[in-house]
């Protein structure tokens, strides 16, 4: 395997690692403006374009990130 082949792949994986953490983990909410459930769906629309990988998006949609946002979003 050459470096040339590795690069685009590495770029994608790293971004995905980031997305997994930045979007699904970390302290959530208590902000005045936060990602609502609709917002989270939109992130996945963006991600679909970004990663062009339906598997990624389906898996992310299946995670409990959106549910947590929904639960805390009703609190204000």
């Amino acid at each position: 395997m050459t470096d040339r082949q590795d690069l685009p792949l590495q770029h994608e994986v790293t971004l995905l690692e980031l997305v997994d953490r930045v979007l699904n983990k970390g302290v959530v909410l208590s902000g005045d403006i936060t990602l609502s459930v609709a917002g989270v769906d939109l992130v996945y629309v963006g991600l679909r374009l970004l990663l062009a990988s339906a598997g990624t998006v389906d898996r992310l949609n299946g995670s409990n990130g959106a549910r947590e946002l929904e639960a805390s979003g009703s609190r204000s």
Partner: protein, 274 residues
């Protein structure tokens, strides 16, 4: 519900405050002009309240108020740029201070609202900072080449494959052997994960399993057996050493490992503050 805009016409242009995370208030940042930002380059501030500070950027409502955000989130390039900036800011701090990472796109209407939040959640934020102080998150994934695992399990199932028969019976026995072999591979994979995790966990303060990624996501041809995160001492090489041992022991079985991080401890902070 009356929106802020209706009662305050200036709200449309006044900056909002995007929060990356929370750090101890006595953190002395480096050259802030060098900082990446989800807003303008270099525009990262420490908004202090008591013993805490939020790492935050003033951002334009035209990008980050609710309606704008919803359309921006569809833009792949915008999304990637902001997600990377969010992480880069946290990583700059990670080297010399504990930081409680926040989820992407946590935005306050004003500096005052942000400070009120810090004050309100002071005890939980301080306790979390103390718990993660000096520690970082590392990600470890284990991959298996199923064919090589199958070969390794062959020895145990070979006896049941009867050679030299033909017809339906041979077919049936072949299928049974195949099924047993498949179960054997699964059992072996589970044992491997337990063994790997037990070894790595010895080097960690805390740990958590994440859902394994599919091949599409991992970008690798082999199966992800394990996807885990470990909270470890930032300066300790323990996890790397354990991983080196595991690579040496399990490499011949076709097991490969991927180490990521150091990350801000995304997986080791409370999802929701009380």
């Amino acid at each position: 519900m009356i929106s802020a805009l209706e009662i305050d016409p200036e709200a449309k242009t006044r900056p909002l405050w995007y929060v990356y995370g929370v750090v101890p208030g006595d953190l002395i940042p480096g050259d802030e002009s060098e900082w990446p930002s989800v807003g303008r380059a270099g525009d990262v501030e420490l908004v202090r309240e008591g013993a805490l500070a939020a790492l935050a950027s003033p951002v334009a409502p035209s990008e980050f108020d609710q309606p704008s955000l919803e359309s921006r989130l569809r833009e792949a390039s915008w999304l990637e740029e902001k997600i990377r900036a969010h992480e880069q800011v946290l990583e700059l701090v990670l080297g010399h201070s504990p930081v409680v990472p926040f989820r992407f796109c946590t935005v306050y209407r004003s500096r005052e609202a942000l400070r009120a939040f810090l004050s309100e959640h002071r005890s939980e934020l301080e306790a979390t900072l103390e718990r993660i102080s000096g520690k970082v998150e590392r990600g470890v994934k284990a991959f298996a080449d199923r064919n090589r695992l199958a070969q390794a399990t062959m020895a145990t199932t070979e006896d049941s494959v009867v050679e030299g028969r033909s017809g339906g019976r041979a077919y049936l026995e072949g299928r049974l052997a195949e099924q047993r072999n498949k179960e054997e591979i699964e059992r072996m994979a589970m044992e491997l994960v337990e063994k790997v995790h037990a070894r790595l966990d010895q080097e960690a303060e805390e740990s958590t399993f994440l859902p394994p990624q599919t091949r599409d996501v991992s970008g690798r041809p082999d199966d992800m057996l394990m996807n885990a995160a470990y909270l470890v001492e930032a300066e300790s090489p323990g996890l790397e050493h354990a991983l080196a041992d595991l690579r040496r022991d399990l490499g011949p079985l076709g097991i490969a490992f991927e180490l990521t991080g150091p990350w801000p401890p995304y997986n080791f902070v409370p999802g929701e503050l009380a």
